[in-house]
Structures are given as structure tokens and as C-alpha cells.
Symmetry: C2
Subunit: 153 residues, 2 copies
Amino acid sequence: MSSTEHHCCGHAHDRGILSEWTAHLQSAGHKLTKPRLAVLELLHRQEHPITNREIHAELSAECDLASIYRTMHLLLEMDLVQQFDFGDGTARFELVSPGGDSHHHHMICTRCSTVVEVDHCFPDSLSETLARHTGFKKITHKLEFFGLCPDCQ
Amino acid sequence: MSSTEHHCCGHAHDRGILSEWTAHLQSAGHKLTKPRLAVLELLHRQEHPITNREIHAELSAECDLASIYRTMHLLLEMDLVQQFDFGDGTARFELVSPGGDSHHHHMICTRCSTVVEVDHCFPDSLSETLARHTGFKKITHKLEFFGLCPDCQ
DNA sequence: CTTTCAATTGCAAGCGAATTGCAACTTGGC
DNA sequence: GCCAAGTTGCAATTCGCTTGCAATTGAAAG
């Protein structure tokens, strides 16, 4: 499944590690540009969702802010990133493995903005109940938790 | 609890119906201004959360947009309205009875934006589990559902 | 009912997130 | 290497929301 390249593991130029995403882009007829690679690489290093502005702060030399927004739209369309809304007016993005089950949520501290990943979710039966009650199809949801982290209590 | 006034029931000047909210405002030392009354009255007539811009469209004669934003801040602070986020970048507001349990969510059609109220929610035990797992306190959540309504399928 | 003053409003300017038009520049197929 | 389509950077723009300030108004006190 993974490519046959393996360099010494590590920093710049991670074609091997990123091939999961670059392959998708290319086979859909999109170009592998320097800005796109830089954004993918940076997203890949994150533990938590990150804003476009934060990405631009790191990549201002290699990539214009507008291009970051455009790249993120592309990745969203192709389901290569997932968008989260933490309640401040700024979108956050997380790289997801194509086809992988990445369903999760976040707990955000309302005082210091610390983020903790949350794997728990309500049972699927609830969505099914809702589908029956409302007649809606293809139901998804957005769910985030807020509270006071141990340090801020 | 309710006042002794009763007119013929109806439109303008619903001091009786709105007293639940106006009383709170006044006893907290806030003025009962024309803009505030107009906003309250309009909110009271809504079945679904409404945006500040939508309110202003109806009330442009009686109330500046900035005042609507300011009124909404006030009502939020006093827990007289609840704010919802439907994923477009625009806040929506719903009047809630002071002290009443208004916990609910929404199902929003991703194509035509139809809104359906959803009373179901996941069991409280989930929040408790999360509190134990994460160490967070005073946990709240934001949850909205998205899907295709019967007409749009 | 008038006075009085702090709270509130309207207006216009301002801010940050996100989008867009366009000329210049890459990417990747030939 | 060449070329066309896709992409980028830049600057200007939109959109939701906020803010400073002078003018107005609600309501408490006289």
C-alpha cells in the first residue's frame, strides 16, 4: 500500500508520507504545487485542528494567505481535510486519511482554549431515530464540547 | 405571576406576553426601549432561530443593525436568548423562557436550509464519562444535525 | 408634569475572516 | 524545451460583527 521510497524518515520533502494525499490530488487532475505541498506537510505535523491564519504564519514565505484558503477548499471538496468550528469565528482544519474513519470531536477549554480530542460519540441509533422522526436522509452532525480544563478550574 | 392587563390578544404592544422577559430586563436595571421591545416581540413570533440581519430586515424602520447586535448581546448575557450556529458564518438566536429548560438542537437541510427542531440528545451519562476521562468541568456542548430534507432528496 | 442624567441609540468608521478578479507564473503533458 | 491549463500572489472587496461618539430617550426624582 505504501510507496517503495523510504528516505531517512523525517522532515522536508516527505513525498513518501504524504503520498496518501498527493496521489489523490494528482489522480483527480490537480497540480502538485509548492504551496499545496507545504500546506499538506504542515497539516500532517499537527496534533489538533489549525486555522488558515496559523498556517500562513508558518508558511508566509512559501505561500500566500489566499492560496491557503483556496487549498483548503480543494482539500475539503476532496474530503482530505475535515473542518471544525470551535465557536470563535474561525474555521479549523485537520488532515484526514482518505477513506479512513476519522470521526471524532473535541473538548475545548472556554478559558485557555486547550483542545482535547474526544473519541466518544452518541450511539448511531440516535441518528437512525432522527432519520425516522424527521424523514431526513444522509444525516451528519457537528458536535463539540466546551468546559473548564483541569488547569483552569 | 402574570400581570392584570389583558387586551384583546394579539399584535403590537404585547406587554402581557413579553412581561416574562421585560420584567427580567427592568429588574436588572435595563431600560425598556423601543428597539429592545421590537426585537423581543419579533423574536417571540419566530418558530426557528433567526439572524440579526433577518431581524434588521423586518425592523429597519425601528431599529439600527448595531442596536440589534447590542440587544442580542444583552439578552445572551441574561440568558434570555440562546445562540445557535448552523455552519454558515452567521449567528442565529432564539428566545428562551427564563429558567425554562430549553435544551434542544436542530436538523438543517444542506440544500434548502429548512430547519426542524430536534428534542433528542445523547444521554447525560456521556458528558459524565467525558468529565471523568478528560478532567474537564462544567461541560456543555454544541450539536447540530445536517442532512437532506424529504423535499430535497 | 418637568427636570435631569445615565443608559441607549444611530451613524459611520473599523476590524478580522474569507472571497475574488486579474496579470504573472508554474506544472506537467507533449 | 514548449505550451496550455491550472495556479499563484497581490490588491481590492465582501460579509459579519464591533466600536467611538454625539444626539436622544427612558425613568427616577423633584
